[in-house]
């Protein structure tokens, strides 16, 4: 019984779960007979999946490495979205200009603001909120829930209670036609960004010393310490990176939804948990596959059986758990 198939796609010998993604897409094609519609929906599903992956990857890695489930993870998502919203609202003109350069001059600072603020908040959170309750799962859940409540309220204090609209940048909105299928530019961007981030994570995890430490730490943090590494520093780095990623995901999600509100982090939490459970707690690869499956499933059922759409991810979760009770890529603890 090997745990060789754990965490990281590409290295794994277990391609079966990854095959579920095209399998689901093809199965949907049978029901959605119109090809252009299918293309649009698939792109929408992939885009949504990528954004969810961005938001969830930090959460699963933190859990796998540090054995900490941060129920307040949604806070980083919200903060990222709000930080970006502030920048974008201030630079409304640049956003609405029909030039890519102008758009980017607004978007890039917005993304940087999101990543920076979310990352900083992550550092603060790990130090002040999480550290005192390492190892105590019950208090972890309670304290992070408390953090969720408090920070959601603080967002109201700083940014006010209103929903802030977040329009798409001018050059990235709308769609272009490929044959009969309408491909939304923004969704394409989301897919590209998601793939880039996944590739970056893969490279770090598999080609760098830090990645080696993380992969080893997920299996046996104590042994990594015994080999002479201050795993605490790795913890902090991963937590901050995870929070920053969540912030980035939050921005993209906010633009996707068209607005930001203080509850958005909390609203998406259930979806994140479902993705984590499907993928296997602690597995980045599983999170990736799970997120894509959830994104696709939500969009396909949204078209085929709208009433079922909200519950489709949960049904998907149940099906996956019946097949693999610990998720698609369980991370075996040595």
């Amino acid at each position: 019984m090997t745990t060789a198939d754990a965490q990281v796609p590409g290295r794994k010998l277990d391609w079966l779960p990854l095959a579920l993604v095209p399998a689901l897409a093809l199965a949907a094609l049978l029901f959605i007979t119109s090809l252009p519609t299918w293309i649009t929906l698939t792109l929408a599903g992939l885009a949504m999946g990528m954004m969810i992956f961005m938001m969830a990857s930090g959460l699963t890695l933190v859990f796998g490495l540090m054995d900490v489930m941060n129920f307040a993870h949604g806070v980083f998502i919200s903060i990222g979205a709000y930080a970006a919203a502030s920048v974008l609202v201030a630079m409304k003109g640049a956003m609405q200009a029909p030039s890519l350069a102008a758009n980017l001059s607004a978007i890039v600072p917005a993304l940087l603001a999101a990543i920076a603020l979310a990352g900083f908040l992550g550092w603060f959170f790990e130090r002040v909120v999480i550290r005192p309750v390492y190892g105590d799962h019950l208090r972890q859940i309670l304290v992070t829930m408390g953090g969720l409540i408090v920070f959601e309220q603080l967002i109201h204090v700083v940014w006010g209670p209103d929903i802030i609209p977040l329009p798409q940048p001018a050059t990235l909105s709308g769609s272009f036609l490929v044959g009969n299928a309408a491909l939304e530019r923004y969704r394409l961007l989301a897919v590209l960004v998601g793939l880039a981030i996944f590739a970056a994570m893969w490279l770090v995890l598999n080609r760098t010393r830090l990645g080696l430490l993380i992969r080893a730490g997920v299996e046996n943090a104590e042994m990594v310490e015994s080999l002479g590494y201050r795993i605490r520093l790795v913890f902090i780095a991963v937590f901050v990176a995870g929070s920053a990623l969540a912030g980035l995901g939050g921005v993209m999600w906010g633009i996707y939804q068209g607005s930001v509100n203080a509850q958005m982090g909390m609203q998406v939490m259930v979806l994140l948990f479902i993705v984590l459970i499907i993928g296997g707690l602690g597995s980045v690869g599983g999170c990736f596959v799970g997120a894509l499956l959830v994104g696709l499933a939500t969009n396909y059922t949204g078209y085929l059986a709208p009433k079922l759409a909200l519950g489709s991810s949960i049904l998907l979760m149940v099906l996956v758990l019946l097949w693999r009770p610990r998720g698609l890529y369980p991370v075996g603890k040595a």
Binding site: F63, M69, V129, P132, V133, D136, H137, L138, R139, Q140, I141, L142, V143, M145, G146, G147, L148, I149, V150, Q153, L154, H156, V157, V158, P161, M266, M269, V270, F273, I274, L276, I277, L281, K307, L310, G311, I314, M317
Partner: protein, 353 residues
């Protein structure tokens, strides 16, 4: 006799005892002492939430399980009553049927969830209950033909409990004795009775085993068969308690819907109440529920004054804004989790010693 009534679980602190008595008397005499629709609503809500939170304390404080599915059972109780009264007519018979059905469904679900907690880590369990509760919420809002969807179900109570009904010709101590008064006492006495039953459960040998399991679970990974049985029974009792609370709440509101019972913010409120009041004490839920509901209704007025007084100072007026009352409770909650796990009740008892 008091000893038997309280199942031997004395307050163990003069201040606590005094506060509890005050709350009990206040709730018992609410229609007479606090006249007015608003105050009666507050009193009824306190009674309902005392039961809801106490049943959650059984799960969290005594068994050591964090579950996010508690609001689901709350909702099952409410919808049981709502659907029965709306579809089957406003009779005592259909009410009984609705309540029985609700309890049965809750029991089955609680059993299923309890068995799931077999080999599953606490965190995994919490996440799954969140997903289950979320699914239930989706069902309730999507199956509008059955559940009234987002709008919920408004219904009439059996004639005896209807507000228009008059039981006595002239008012008693200035209060009209009618269906509304009766409904209030159904809620109050129902909640009180169930609370005392829960108190009995946690002070029985069963309850003591729960406490010892809670201690062991967090120290070792080994799980024996019997632990699952006890946790499942605790899960079922808690679920039934929440269901009864849901029934009572629906009876009072004459309405049931997703936002009064199933929303996640109610789950958060329950957490706040049980932790601030004191986990694992039962009386903590009485205190927690009272403080929370009073804060929800009256603290905002206080904060409005404070906010107005703080005008001109940066940030402070926003922090004291009445809509931010949850912020302060949240901070109190966090402080309790770190420093006062037994909450206010624990503090009072420590001081008394």
């Amino acid at each position: 006799m008091l000893h038997t009534l309280l199942s031997g679980d004395r307050p163990r602190s003069r201040i606590l005892a005094a506060v509890l008595v005050a709350i009990l008397v206040g709730l018992a005499l609410a229609p007479f002492v606090f006249p007015g629709t608003r105050s009666l609503n507050v009193a009824a809500k306190v009674a309902v939430f005392v039961l809801l939170v106490a049943s959650y304390d059984l799960l969290l404080g005594y068994t050591g399980i964090v579950s996010f599915a508690h609001t689901m059972f709350f909702g099952i109780g409410g919808y049981g009553v709502g659907m029965a009264m709306a579809k089957l007519g406003s009779t005592w018979g259909s009410l009984a049927l609705g309540v029985a059905a609700a309890l049965a469904v809750s029991l089955v679900l609680a059993l299923a969830i309890g068995l799931l907690s077999l080999r599953v880590k606490a965190i995994f369990f919490a996440m799954i209950t969140l997903a289950v509760a979320s699914f239930f919420q989706i069902l309730a809002s999507q199956l509008s033909w059955l559940t009234g969807g987002e709008d919920g179900i408004t219904f009439k109570l059996p004639e005896l409990l209807q507000p228009a009904t008059r039981l006595l010709e002239s008012p008693l101590f200035g209060v009209d004795v009618g269906g509304r008064l009766l409904a209030y006492y159904v809620v109050f006495l129902g909640s009180l009775a169930c609370f005392l039953l829960l108190l009995r459960a946690v002070n029985s040998p069963f309850g003591r085993v729960l406490l010892s399991i809670r201690e062991n679970e967090f120290r070792s990974e080994a799980i024996g068969y019997r632990i699952v049985t006890y946790r499942t029974v605790a899960n079922c009792l808690a679920a039934l308690g929440a269901t009864v609370a849901g029934v009572l709440y629906a009876l009072w509101l004459r309405y049931t819907g997703p936002d009064t019972t199933l929303s996640f913010s109610i789950m958060i409120d329950i957490l706040l109440m049980v932790v601030i009041g004191g986990m694992g004490t039962m009386y903590g839920s009485v205190l927690g529920a009272t403080i929370f509901v009073l804060a929800q209704n009256y603290l905002q007025d206080l904060m409005k004054l404070a906010s107005g007084a703080a005008q001109g100072v940066p940030l402070l007026p926003d922090l004291l804004h009445p809509d931010r009352w949850l912020l302060w409770l949240g901070i109190l909650f966090i402080v309790c989790v770190y420093y006062f796990p037994t909450g206010i009740v624990g503090r009072l008892r420590a001081v008394a010693r």
